[in-house]
């Protein structure tokens, strides 16, 4: 095809940027959409997982004899029923999926059983006798790395940790450039503060659920709600000791994931039970188990030191980030460290991270893992410095903002980026100039996230009526089916409604990395565009053959093959339906395909403004107004982009004000239910305003940047700043709950 790269120059679109109805809307409101727990199979068993009531305990004995004899029980599994000899992350996942000789946190799976009905399974579970020997535990990240803290796993250090640290510190990160001490010496004001955030849960409404069927031959089928079924396939095969391709995994419709469904928790258990019973096994997690045993974020403890001149120039910045990923080595402390100062063009910057083990569940990703806490700490210090120096907080951010070509705090040079544009849009937004009343405060903050490309395959199949199906491998967690259809419509020149995008199972498409890292609209989108172009090429070839001219002399426009000019010959444009109607006779089915690991994801920045009112007598905070400004590169379906921005702000409001994991003295989780783990609902919130900035990403044919994660990076900071400015006292610990705000006010008044 002659004009292969025509999209690269494209600035006007017919479909991209419009707001058609979502393709999954009717399915979801009519109940036709099938979620994890909606699948059944003939002869299906129901499973229950027994979990440790202790934060840290040796498992002395598991006696299943009474349960085995109970009515309806068909299989019981413990760690012995999974593969041994695993290492690395697979071993860690198995250790979390089913405890070995030690229960490592309250809620750790210890044993599972399957029976013919849910009631029988629950009754039988009570008959399993598990003898524990409690050992000392630690759940607080700072206490876990203090001298004398109980050791979670001896020798887990990966070799990066500086000498003399507690064995619970298992990984260390350091990055930066310049000379921070020299930078601090040049500053007019140097501020150093310590911050803490608690673990939060992604709070998806749909609990983890799956239906697995595996035979004794190791071949199996799995239906589950996940953000990445190829990953589930790979991990389950490893944990069960079977070949990857022996297991076919189909992703269900997903009722929220936010990163939490990138991990594997229950699927290998259902399969192990199924293999033992030779029956399909359904496993649905009760809500309390979701809280106790699926990924919360890491709690964080952070020290930030920043130097600034009187005019607001940052001379140096330093941060230390201590995060705990639970009883496993994987807290995203390097992401905290690398994102912390990424919004600023700094001469001198140094960041360090410590990954600390504690008796908590294995952390899982939650939108921009590690970044929101770091932004809270850094942006709070900046806010305080602006207050002390009498400077406008957005102007100071603009003055120091990273730009195209700036050396990022974590190393590389930025390609085309849009932080300055978001700051300018925020400064010029009426919200920023709106008056505030007594007792109200305004907070602003910026945020950064890397975004990701990742392994991707997409196929596009044309039907004889000229409509198209797209098979992608990235579960739709934010409206990506609509975006894929819009991008394909743009290339094919056929209506959006004529394109159906489905999430293919692991046996019908090549490998696809998880839907994470804000990668889907970018990477699956890029692959969809290329697959559509591939199909267009083939259609141009068919037209060329019919016309008897060179395929290079045919181009594609708005759904038609056209001869490229008078030299190519005089032919009437040939519509897609003409080509597909006869495709069987003219060379066979026409499909397009693309696979790659695209590298040009394009980093993303946002700036948030929030107004809050604090009741100084009760410590209660009300969010009055909220504006999100973020660079989307190119908003393919603006409504979904706005939804991502709003969702990020809302989840950030929960994290900043209400949500936290509360552990008792005994190390057990005190609030494992939505009644006591309070996520904000619509009636708690003002309308969240959004502004979409579009600075194209050169790494995507239409300029797309992922938008799913950056939106949760600034809110903790912006809200903490608003609350601090309203209450007149700096909140250094989140959530800023009423008791904490009152305590801070009391401390301030006591001097």
């Amino acid at each position: 095809m002659a004009r292969d790269e025509f999209e690269a120059e494209r600035t006007t679109y017919n479909f991209v940027g419009t707001r058609p109805d979502r393709p999954d809307g009717i399915d979801k409101v009519t109940g036709r959409a099938r979620f994890g727990a909606d699948m059944t199979a003939p002869g299906m068993l129901h499973a229950v997982i027994l979990r440790s009531p202790h934060a840290h305990a040796k498992i002395v004995k598991i006696d299943t004899s009474k349960a085995e004899a109970a009515p309806g029980v068909k299989a019981i599994v413990t760690r012995a029923d999974f593969a041994d000899g695993l290492d690395g992350e697979n071993w860690n996942i198995l250790e979390n999926v089913m405890a070995g000789d030690t229960a490592l946190y309250d809620g750790h799976a210890v044993c599972a059983l399957a029976a013919t009905s849910m009631l029988e399974a629950r009754d039988a579970a009570k008959l399993v006798e598990i003898e524990y020997e409690r050992i000392p535990h630690v759940t607080d990240v700072d206490k876990a790395m203090a001298p004398g803290a109980p050791v979670i796993r001896e020798g887990a250090d990966d070799g990066s940790v500086p000498a003399g640290m507690h064995p619970n510190v298992v990984r260390y990160h350091e990055s930066g450039h310049g000379d921070v001490e020299a930078g601090f010496a040049k500053a007019d004001l140097v501020l150093e503060e310590t911050f803490k955030t608690e673990a939060t849960h992604q709070g998806y409404i749909e609990p983890h659920a799956c239906l697995g069927h595996m035979g004794t031959d190791g071949k199996g089928e799995l239906w589950c709600c996940t953000q990445g079924h190829w990953n589930v396939q790979k991990v389950c095969a490893a944990l069960l000791g079977t070949e990857t391709s022996a297991l076919r995994v189909t992703a269900s419709e997903i009722g929220g994931g936010f990163g939490g469904k990138t991990a594997v928790f229950i699927e290998p258990v259902a399969l192990a039970l199924s293999r033992k019973a030779n029956r399909p096994v359904k496993l649905v997690m009760p809500r309390a188990d979701v809280f106790r045993a699926t990924g919360p974020t890491s709690p964080a403890s952070m020290d930030i030191k920043i130097g600034m001149t009187k005019d607001g120039t940052i001379t140096a910045a330093k941060g230390v980030f201590r995060l705990s990923g639970g009883a496993f080595p994987e807290a995203p402390m390097e992401f905290s460290a690398m994102c912390a100062f990424a919004c600023y063009d700094l001469e001198n910057v140094l960041q360090m991270g410590y990954d600390v083990m504690s008796n908590r569940p294995k952390q899982a990703a939650y939108r921009a893992p590690g970044a929101p806490m770091a932004a809270f700490a850094v942006e709070s210090v900046l806010d305080e410095m602006c207050n002390q120096l009498g400077l406008d907080p957005l102007e100071v951010r603009l003055k120091n903002a990273a730009k195209t070509g700036s050396k990022a705090s974590y190393g590389p040079r930025f390609d085309q980026i849009g932080l300055v544009e978001t700051l300018e849009a925020a400064i010029n937004h009426p919200h920023y100039k709106a008056p505030l009343a007594e007792g109200q405060g305004r907070g602003v903050a910026c945020g950064f996230w890397f975004n990701h490309g990742g392994e991707t395959s997409v196929s596009l199949m044309l039907s004889e009526d000229g409509t198209a199906q797209i098979a992608v491998g990235t579960p739709d967690i934010g409206g990506s089916r609509a975006s894929m259809a819009l991008m394909a419509a743009e290339v094919l020149g056929i209506p959006y409604e004529n394109i159906r995008c489905v999430i293919a199972d692991t046996s019908s498409l090549g490998y696809n990395e998880i839907s994470h890292g804000s990668r889907v609209t970018y990477a699956s989108g890029l692959a969809t565009i290329k697959a559509a172009k591939d199909a267009v090429n083939r259609m141009c070839q068919r037209a060329a053959a019919k016309w008897g001219i060179d395929p290079d002399a045919v181009y594609w426009e708005d759904g038609y093959a056209k001869p490229s000019g008078p030299n190519a010959g005089e032919f009437d444009p040939m519509h897609i339906t003409e080509i597909t109607a006869n495709m069987g006779a003219t060379g066979g089915p026409i499909n397009g395909h693309f696979e790659a690991t695209p590298e040009g994801a394009g980093v993303s920045f946002g700036t948030h403004i929030v107004d809050a009112e604090v009741d100084p007598e009760t410590g209660h905070t009300k969010i009055l107004r909220y504006t999100v400004v973020q660079d989307a590169g190119k908003a393919v379906h603006p409504t979904y982009v706005e939804g991502q921005y709003q969702g990020g702000a809302v989840q950030g409001i929960g994290w900043a004000l209400n949500e936290e994991y509360i552990y008792g003295e005994d190390g057990s989780l005190q609030n494992a239910l939505f009644l006591d783990y309070r996520v904000p609902v619509a009636s708690d919130l003002p309308m969240i305003d959004t502004v979409i900035v579009e600075v194209p990403n050169p790494g995507h044919p239409f300029g797309v940047r992922g938008v799913g994660e950056t939106g949760i990076v600034p809110p903790l900071a912006a809200i903490a700043n608003a609350v601090s400015n309203a209450a007149g006292v700096r909140m250094r610990q989140l959530p800023a709950s009423p008791p904490r705000i009152l305590a801070a006010l009391k401390d301030r008044d006591a001097g």
Binding site: L119, R122, T618, H620, Q670, P680, D684, S737, P738, L742
Partner: protein, 287 residues
């Protein structure tokens, strides 16, 4: 979470419901809106062999204001309390309190009878009913008996109601015209039970408080009708001294425990703040 197995009954009148309760004794339990009971069944904190659904019993529904008495059928939903014009006119504090219960979804299902019979100290209606000096009508195998809301609550989930009795009606003396009122509630967020809540009714004549009733919610293992707090206002000019005395008396009467909503000291503090606000608003509304 799924509840244990049970038999489901759906009688059409009170007599049939009573017959089922009498047959099965403490093995049976009535269900109204189910928004307290079903969560407890799912948590297996409540297990029963027989569930007696009251939703088809029309005689348990409805609101009437008749002379000096307001009568509310046990199966009246919280949503119906909010939308009743008659009630808004006769005792607007009921709408004010119902509006801060849970969220609209819960209020469409949850009933006033279930709310007051439940015995959960977190429920808002029991304190309000004490504030209003309501009487509950209980019907059992031995007939009907009235019990004052102020006498009904014994401990968390323990009330004066016998297992075989059904709460059929609530009867409330209509507040005198010009009664000042307020129901004030602090909660973590929409849809939550109170961190602290307080209901206040008072009357003022010639600058002097002539009657006052104060109740506190979720600050002890039962709702607390703080008689001494009301008494501290009566006869006063409702000035700072009287209000401070009332708050001190109310704080004496409550006994909050530390939980996920905060430590005891915090709850005591918030109880004082919201009671002061409720008193202030009630005074402003008294005419």
């Amino acid at each position: 979470m799924i509840p244990a197995g049970f038999e489901y009954h759906r009688p059409a009148d009170v007599a049939s419901a009573l017959a089922i309760l009498t047959t099965h004794g403490d093995e049976a339990r009535v269900i109204a809106g189910g928004h307290s009971l079903i969560p407890m069944m799912k948590l297996r904190m409540a297990e029963m062999g027989h569930l007696v659904d009251l939703q088809d019993i029309t005689e348990l529904k409805g609101i009437s204001v008749d002379g000096d008495t307001i009568t509310i059928g046990a199966m009246t939903t919280q949503h119906e309390l909010i939308t009743s014009d008659a009630l808004a006119e006769a005792a607007p504090i009921i709408r004010e309190a119902a509006l801060v219960i849970a969220d609209p979804q819960v209020r469409y299902m949850g009933t006033i009878g279930g709310n007051v019979a439940n015995g959960d100290p977190g429920n808002d209606m029991p304190g309000l009913m004490q504030c209003l000096d309501a009487t509950y009508i209980l019907v059992g195998p031995d007939g009907m008996r009235p019990v004052a809301a102020r006498e009904f609550y014994e401990a968390a989930y323990f009330t004066a109601r016998e297992d075989e009795e059904i709460l059929t009606q609530i009867s409330i003396p209509r507040p005198a015209p010009g009664t000042g009122y307020a129901y004030e509630k602090q909660k973590r967020k929409i849809g939550d039970y109170a961190t602290a809540a307080s209901g206040v009714m008072l009357t003022v004549a010639g600058g002097t408080c002539t009657s006052a009733s104060i109740a506190m919610t979720n600050l002890a293992d039962t709702p607390i009708w703080a008689e001494a707090a009301g008494a501290a206002l009566v006869g006063s000019d409702l000035g700072e001294d009287a209000i401070t005395a009332a708050i001190a008396a109310a704080k004496d009467a409550i006994d909050p425990v530390a939980d996920n909503r905060g430590p005891v000291e915090f709850k005591m503090h918030v109880a004082g703040v919201i009671l002061r606000r409720a008193i202030d608003r009630a005074i402003a509304r008294a005419g």
